[in-house]
Amino acid sequence: MSARLWYLRHGVAWLPVLACCAAAAATALLVVRWPDVAGVLAPAVLACCAGAAAFVYDEDALPVVAVTPRGAGWRRTARLGVTLLPMSVWVVVVALRPGEVPFVRPGWWLLGGATLLLVTGSAALASRRLVPTPGALLAPVVALAAVAPVTLAGMFSWGSLYPIGDFPDPVRAVWLGVALSGAVVCVVALRPGLRP
């Protein structure tokens, strides 16, 4: 087993990551049962996946491991790969279209990927700043933030950020902006070194 896999197996807080992924899968099953309210349940699935991504950089012993010879940059880069797990859950859920809800797959993959990129980058940035368990605060905040746009959909003329049946260009532009922000945050967070 390579050093990275060994480290990920022992270092990642798998319980909350897997619990959030399981919650995402369970919520997706609710979409199968109640497709009429997919407009709220699908963002709730995303909220669970984002919550999982928020825990990827949790490391209780951060002050110790951050100064090991292998370096904090190696550690943060290795952990980035764990985001593939919630990302895979999201990709599969959207691909399967639970309840035959007409998700526009490229658009929904984009919004999920953008959200997870931003959340992972934020967690990595907190880790870079020596916050040992950023997920404890980040997970509930991003879960709430993922669902919050639903409350705005019926109130403003600009429509929903989670469109079902059609994925308008302005909405795509918003999510591309989120993805770009996430990429920038990731690049900043994954630079070698620490910023206490």
């Binding site: 309210v37 709220v40 825990f55 404890a136 605060l137 879960a143 403003f156």
Partner: protein, 297 residues
């Protein structure tokens, strides 16, 4: 860091602990973010509306309940968990976990006041800008029903904070508050959405946040959902008390016969209030007269 000196026991001690926890809550960044977001979104809604007067005013308490109430869940859970860092040291001090939990229940005070301020702002803005004469509001509904629906916002904010305390007391795993937030949204949605347009819509009132107003329909009408909002408000407050008692229940030493009887009495009261909410008030959904400017289809 507060420098208040806390008496070991008695009412003064409880009050001092409550003041400390309420202050911590009022300064918590997540709670403050929720309050700011609630008012910013309300301000944006009022600034971008295209008609005179405030539209769908009785749906707007949802904004306060969502942003302030759900961020209160997170903030109160964080504050409760933070006390566990020093659990061993605290456990050697006079007082019990139940007593500390009762102090933590004061985190609901800033949340309640923020929700109340949100509702007051709604009423003031509606009075200043007016509402359409067909709108469900004072004049088309009994005053007590309108006030009950408006006060559901502060009740939900209070409940959010108390749910946060309850969650942190019983669920120690990371992400428990995230789970609580998502579960609250999903339960509130699935518990009522499938029932809203059925003849048994009053049974939706079992959920901790039920809507009474659908917003604008395509034909310009607004639907008022069945049920008694006054009794439902009481049901929400009973759930708040149950949340506090449930959090105190975590302390085994608190489970005296008297405390158990209190829990049973509050649970029974909640059930009675739910039954009253579901069986009295309006028995059917009611549509308002159409508002011509809001006909969309």
């Amino acid at each position: 860091m507060s420098s208040l000196s806390v008496p070991a026991s008695g009412l003064a001690g409880h009050r001092a602990m409550a003041v400390i926890e309420a202050r911590r809550m009022a300064r918590h960044p997540v709670f403050l973010l929720g309050v700011v977001l609630a008012f910013v979104v309300l301000g944006l809604f009022l600034a971008t509306k295209k008609e005179e007067g405030v539209p769908v005013v009785l749906t707007l308490p949802l904004l306060g309940a969502f942003y302030i109430g759900l961020t209160s869940v997170i903030a109160a859970a964080r504050l409760t968990s933070s006390t566990e860092v020093a659990a061993e040291a605290v456990a050697t001090a006079p007082g019990t976990e139940a007593r500390r939990t009762l102090g933590l229940a004061a985190t609901g005070i800033p949340a309640f006041l923020a929700g109340l301020a949100f509702s007051v702002v709604l009423v003031v803005v509606a009075q200043v800008q007016g509402v359409a004469p067909q709108e469900w509001w004072f004049g088309t509904l009994p005053d007590w029903q309108v006030w009950s629906m408006l006060l559901m916002c502060p009740a939900a904010c209070l409940g959010g904070a108390l749910l946060g305390v309850l969650t942190a007391r019983w669920l120690r795993f990371r992400g428990a508050s995230a789970m609580a937030v998502v579960a609250l949204i999903v339960v509130s949605l699935l518990g009522q959405a499938p029932l809203l347009e059925t003849s048994s819509s009053e049974w939706r009132l079992r959920v901790p946040w039920a809507i009474f107003h659908t917003g604008d329909n395509a034909d310009g009408t607004q639907t008022l959902i069945a049920g008694n909002p006054g009794a439902y408000l009481g049901y929400m407050l009973a759930l708040c008390v149950l949340a506090v008692l449930g959090a105190m229940w975590h302390d085994r030493t608190a489970r005296t016969p008297r405390f158990r009887a209190l829990v049973a009495a509050v649970a029974a009261t909640a059930l009675v209030l739910f039954a009253v909410a579901a069986t009295t008030g309006s028995h059917d959904n009611r549509d308002s007269d159409p508002i011509p400017s809001r006909v969309t289809g």
